[in-house]
Amino acid sequence: MDTSFVVKDCALISIATGEEAQNLRELSDRVKMVPTGCIYYHFWGGMLRSSFDEPEYQNDFAAWAWRCLHDNRLAERLAIIDPSAYQDLEALRSELADVIDERLAESEHVPWVRSGQRFKFIRSQIVVFDTGIRITHPSEMAEQIARMSLGSIFYHFIDARRRTGQGKNDFVEWFTSFDEADCIKLTRRINRIDPYFTTLAALRRELEAVFTS
C-alpha cells in the first residue's frame, strides 16, 4: 500500500446566505438555525479569506460585538472560544449560543446596531485539488513544508479536523503509519501547536520549525 503523504491544496470562496442580525436577540436566534457551514466560516474562514493580519478578535462574532455592538464584555467572552477545542461544529454552535444567551440574560435591554452594521451570515465553498506532490517519509517534510501554499497548510492542519475521525490534523494521522520513535516525538510537538490564535503563515513557520528540528 502506498503510504505517501498526498499534498493537497484548497481555496475558499464566500457566499452570502441572506441571513442577518441587527440585535443580540436576532444573533442568538440565527446562530441556532443557520447551516453549520456558517459557524465554520465565521470561526475558521478568516484564515483563508481576505483579512487583516492583526485583527482585534479572532472570530467574526467577537469582532462584531466589539466593533458594532460596542459590548466589550461580550466580545471578550466570544473571543476566547477556541473552535479547535470542540468535537464538532454543533458543539461549537451550542457554546456560542450559550455565551450570547448568557449576555442577553444579563442585559436590561437588547443591544442593537445601525442598519449598515448588521451581522451578515456567510458560508463558503471549498475547492480541494491535488498538487501532484508526494512525500514518502517524514524526514522529507521539512523541505516540503516551506514550499506549501497557505491553502495546503489550511487543508492539512485546519480543515483536517473536520475530516478525520478524532479531529486530528493530517500530519499526525500520517505519522501513525510509521512505527518510529521520531514520529511519536513529532506528533507530540505538532499537537502542542495552537491552530487558532495565529495566521496560516505563522502556522507554516511553526510546522517548519518542528520538522527542521
Binding site: D9, A11, L12, I13, S14, I15, A16, T17, G18, G37, S50, S51, F52, D53, E54, S115, G116, R118, K120, I122, R123, S124, Q125, I126, V127, V128, F129, D130, T131, R147, M148, S149, G151
Partner: protein
C-alpha cells in the same frame, strides 16, 4: 511559466501563481464572455483589462464584449446607478424602453458568442437584460454587481431585479451589498493590478515631476483625492475638510478625476467643485483624461495623505491604489472602504469633513505613525487586494458552479 504570469510571480511569489494554474486546470479551453458598458474609465473597465488577458494566459478562451447604446441608454443607466445607491428618482418610461430595446439589439449582435459560451459574466445593470433576450443559452450566466446596493431605492431595484433574478449566480463586492436572490450570492472583493501604469513603480524624477507640471508646491503637504466628479464621492466635503486643516497648518489639496464614458453628470459636479474652491491657489482641480494612468500613479506617490471621503461607495479602488503606494487613507465609513481601511492600522474611517480634517492633521503632525500606517497598508493590499487573489476567486467560482452547490468540491 508565461511571461505575464512570471511578472506577477515576482510580486506575489511562485506559490501563488502555481495555485492559480492548478485551479485553472479543469477550466482549460472553456469559453468565457465578459460584458460591460465601457472599455475605458471606471473600475469595471480597469478590472476587465487585466482579468481577461490573465484568464487567457491560464488557458481559458475569454472574450470581452461591450454593450453599445445611444445617449438615452446611458442616461437611463446613470439613473439606475444613482437609484441603486439610494437616490429616490423616477426614470421616464421612454428611457426604460430605450434601455430594453438597446439590450435586445445588443443581444442580437452578440447572440452567437453568448449562446456558445460556457460562462457569461454580465457586469452591472447596463447589460443585465441580455440574458432575458438569450433564451437558447447553454452556459452558466453570472451577474456581477459592482455597485453599493445596500440601501437601493426600491422602485429602481424592483425593476432591475426581474432581469437578474434568473441568473445562475451573482457576485457582490461585500455581503452588505448582496440582495436576496434564489441563486448563490458569491462575494468577491475587487482588486488592483500592480503591473498597470496606474500602479507600477515609477522613477523618483517622474513622481516629483508632478509638482512642476501642475503648479504644486513641493514644500507643502499634499492631500489628494482621486475620483470621478460625483456627489457620492463628496468632493465638496473634501474641500471643507481642507479649509478646516488650513486654519491650523499650511497644506495643499488636489482633486484629480476624469469623466467616465458612461457618466453624463460629471460636468455639473465639476462646476460645483470649482465654485466651492473659489480660486484658492492651494486647491488644484485636475480634470485628467481617462488614460492618464501614470499621472494618477505619480500624484498618489507624491501625496502625503490620500483621501476617499465617499458617502456611498461600491468598493473604492482608488483606496486600494493609494494603499499600494504606501499611503494611509482617510476614507468615508461606507461600503468597501470599510474592508480596506482598518481603523488606526491602514488609515482612518471618517463620517464628516470635521473627522477627515482631524485625522489628516493628526497624521501630518505624527510623521512616523503616517509612515508605519502606509507600510501596513501596502502589506495589506499585497495579501488581499491584488489581481491574483481576485482571479483566484473567479476560478474557484467557475469550478464551484460546475459542481453545483456542494460545500466541498474535491477535484
Amino acid at each position: 511559466m508565461s511571461n505575464l504570469l512570471e511578472r506577477y510571480a515576482k510580486i506575489v511569489g511562485d506559490i501563488v501563481i502555481d495555485h492559480l494554474r492548478q485551479l485553472a486546470r479543469p477550466l482549460q479551453g472553456m469559453k468565457v464572455v465578459h460584458v460591460n458598458s465601457t472599455r475605458e474609465g471606471g473600475g469595471v473597465a480597469e478590472i476587465l483589462s487585466w482579468l481577461v488577458p490573465l484568464k487567457q494566459e491560464l488557458g481559458l478562451d475569454v472574450k470581452w464584449e461591450l454593450i453599445i447604446g445611444e445617449q438615452g441608454f446611458y442616461q437611463c443607466t446613470k439613473q439606475f446607478h444613482n437609484g441603486l445607491q439610494g437616490k429616490p428618482l423616477v426614470i421616464p418610461q421612454e428611457l426604460l424602453v430605450t434601455y430594453e430595446r438597446t439590450n435586445a439589439e445588443n443581444a442580437d449582435r452578440m447572440r452567437r458568442t453568448l449562446k456558445e459560451a460556457d460562462f457569461v459574466f454580465i457586469h452591472d445593470p447596463q447589460p443585465a437584460p441580455l440574458m432575458h433576450f438569450c433564451p437558447d443559452r447553454k452556459g452558466k450566466w453570472v451577474w456581477r454587481c459592482h455597485i453599493d446596493l445596500s440601501r437601493p431605492y426600491r422602485t429602481v431595484w424592483k425593476y432591475l431585479r426581474k432581469f437578474v433574478v434568473g441568473y445562475d449566480a451573482s457576485i457582490w463586492s461585500l455581503a452588505d451589498f448582496a440582495q436576496p436572490m434564489p441563486h448563490p450570492l458569491y462575494l468577491i472583493a475587487p482588486s488592483i493590478d500592480p503591473l498597470s501604469p496606474k500602479n507600477i513603480e515609477l522613477p523618483t524624477t517622474e513622481v516629483n515631476g508632478v509638482f512642476a507640471r501642475y503648479g504644486l508646491n513641493p514644500d507643502l503637504p499634499l492631500i489628494l483625492q482621486v475620483s470621478r466628479f460625483d456627489h457620492f464621492k463628496d468632493p465638496l466635503g473634501v474641500i471643507e475638510a481642507y479649509r478646516l486643516i488650513k486654519a491650523f497648518t499650511p497644506v495643499q489639496l488636489v482633486l484629480a478625476g476624469g469623466g467616465a464614458a458612461d457618466d453624463p453628470e460629471g460636468d455639473q459636479v465639476l462646476h460645483e467643485v470649482r465654485m466651492a474652491a473659489k480660486n484658492d491657489p492651494d486647491i488644484h482641480i485636475l480634470l485628467l483624461p481617462s488614460d492618464a494612468h501614470r499621472e494618477i500613479n505619480a500624484l498618489q506617490r507624491a501625496a502625503t495623505v490620500c483621501v476617499q471621503k465617499s458617502i456611498r461607495e461600491g468598493f473604492g479602488l482608488t483606496v486600494t491604489e493609494a494603499m499600494w503606494k504606501g499611503k494611509p487613507v482617510i476614507g468615508g465609513d461606507t461600503g468597501g472602504i470599510r474592508l480596506q481601511v482598518v481603523n488606526h492600522h491602514t488609515g482612518f474611517l471618517v463620517n464628516t469633513p470635521e473627522g477627515a480634517a482631524l485625522r489628516i492633521r493628526y497624521l501630518l503632525k505624527n510623521r512616523q505613525i503616517l509612515e508605519n500606517m502606509g507600510r501596513k497598508a501596502r502589506e495589506y493590499v499585497l495579501t488581499n487586494f491584488l489581481v491574483t487573489r481576485h482571479l483566484r476567486e473567479y476560478l474557484i467560482l467557475m469550478v464551484a458552479m460546475m459542481h453545483e452547490s456542494a460545500d466541498r468540491i474535491e477535484m
